[in-house]
Symmetry: C2
Subunit: 276 residues, 2 copies
């Protein structure tokens, strides 16, 4: 079973979670609540000077965890695949400049070709950017997505497939982001987390909840405890597999984005203590 959550040392928030807040405001609010980690979505720092981002993080004693999100390698046209690789390398440079140690890969899928072809293009994309990741000291984390996103967002739809991809490379700079939203139902999840840990590939852990009912396929994630994901059980498996990193709250929610962000953050912190 999962260990008791005694403090907020491992709590991290993705900036997308509080999408309406400007970056500096989000940092100040997270810090005021005692949150220690932040994962930064590209849009949140668009147009900001990288040094000012680093300063803002230091002033608020926030540890940057992940830069989100690279990937989207598959495309029907070679021109588009090349362009995706260029953009991933640019994101690696941005992450390095902001001292963010990891880039999350939402790997992508192209509905006009087979999932296997998309996975081949993902492998080629990762192969191409890995040397740059190593050079810049920014790790890559493959995030397997829920199968309902297999058409356009990710041909990697299970932890098993992500494990196989990471093991194919066997590289210290390539691992996996386990997001409960995408994987909670998988009957093989405990085993695959164990496998991931034993190969030193457990790079990140994302949490939220699955609302019952879910009214939107993308923008209706719940706060921990609101839905049906067995969060403590999955965290227990992560801990048993050796994971000691941040617990990253990543919630896309039209409902919460429309509401007061201070209330929302309070709710997240309470839910984190009680239900994650």
């Amino acid at each position: 079973m999962a260990s008791e959550i005694k403090n907020l040392e491992n709590l991290c928030i993705h900036t997308i979670t509080t999408k309406p807040l400007k970056f500096e405001v989000a940092c100040a609010k997270y810090a005021a609540l005692g949150i220690k980690g932040i994962s930064i979505w590209r849009d949140a720092v668009d147009g900001l000077d990288h040094r000012s981002v680093v300063s803002c993080l230091k002033e608020n004693d926030l540890t940057p965890v992940s830069y989100v999100r690279g990937g989207f390698f598959p495309a029907f046209e070679k021109r588009k695949r090349d362009s995706a690789i260029k953009d991933n390398i640019l994101m690696l440079r941005e992450a390095a400049a902001m001292e963010i140690p990891m880039l999350v890969l939402v790997c992508g899928a192209e509905p006009r070709q087979s999932l296997q072809q998309s996975r081949d293009q993902i492998r080629q994309g990762i192969e191409t950017i890995l040397p740059k990741a190593r050079e810049l000291n920014v790790k890559l984390a493959i995030e397997p997505l829920h199968p309902m996103y297999a058409d356009t967002r990710s041909a990697i739809t299970s932890l098993e497939q992500a494990n196989a991809m990471a093991e194919y490379f066997g590289d210290d700079f390539l691992g996996i982001a386990v997001d409960v939203y995408h994987l909670w139902f998988d009957g093989d999840l405990e085993n695959q987390i164990k496998r991931c840990g034993s190969n030193h590939n457990l790079f990140a852990y994302h949490i939220c909840d699955w609302n019952v009912p879910t009214v939107d396929m993308l923008l209706d994630r719940g706060v921990m405890g609101e839905g049906c994901i067995p969060l403590k059980q999955i965290r227990g498996w992560m801990e048993e597999a050796g994971f000691r990193g941040f617990h990253e709250v990543e919630i896309f929610s039209t409902r919460f984005w429309e509401g007061d962000q201070d209330n929302f953050l309070d709710k997240i912190v309470n839910a984190y203590r009680k239900h994650s």
Copy 2:
């Protein structure tokens, strides 16, 4: 690869596909197009005399394929589980009275308990109704559902899990309905179809397509060829695994239900010939 589709001998339509049509009208329209099979949703024949249903099928030379849908075994309260079993037995009697040879099981899930607990209750439910299925000569087909329905509709979210459940019983009266909508993305699908066939558990094959984008989690299925499901490849696997039954078109679609049903049926027949 899949064999060429030369005629409509194996085409079957689920009544829910043309939801706005009354049962007798649906039967007449299917027959006029040369469609040979019909799968009957319970709501379509609600209130009709069973003998009149049988007559209507015979008059239109339609073969009844499946009665849809039993299951929904898991519940938090024993009273509700007992009630689900009673209702399944009633559906078996209805199927027998209408000379429908198979009941499809959408197995159910209860978000307040673990998926494993729900699967245990599904196994108990099947165990309880199997003798009645045999007595009434109505087969049971477990339909694994897409993981996006794991919260309330089915704790069986993969063909692997359905195979394991069917093999646990090893009963001629229990098999599996393979629906491309729920399983198309599964990297292990070919193997699992092979396994299902070799255990004589391939009872039914449901087709439609996955729209890109999909705007509703339940009611936005596409007609074959509109989306990204590799239909011919999957049918090829079904045929290689020995399946020779009907190809059942099951489409839930607000968009098509709002339109002209004759045009919709023409579209289905053309799409069946070209894209399935």
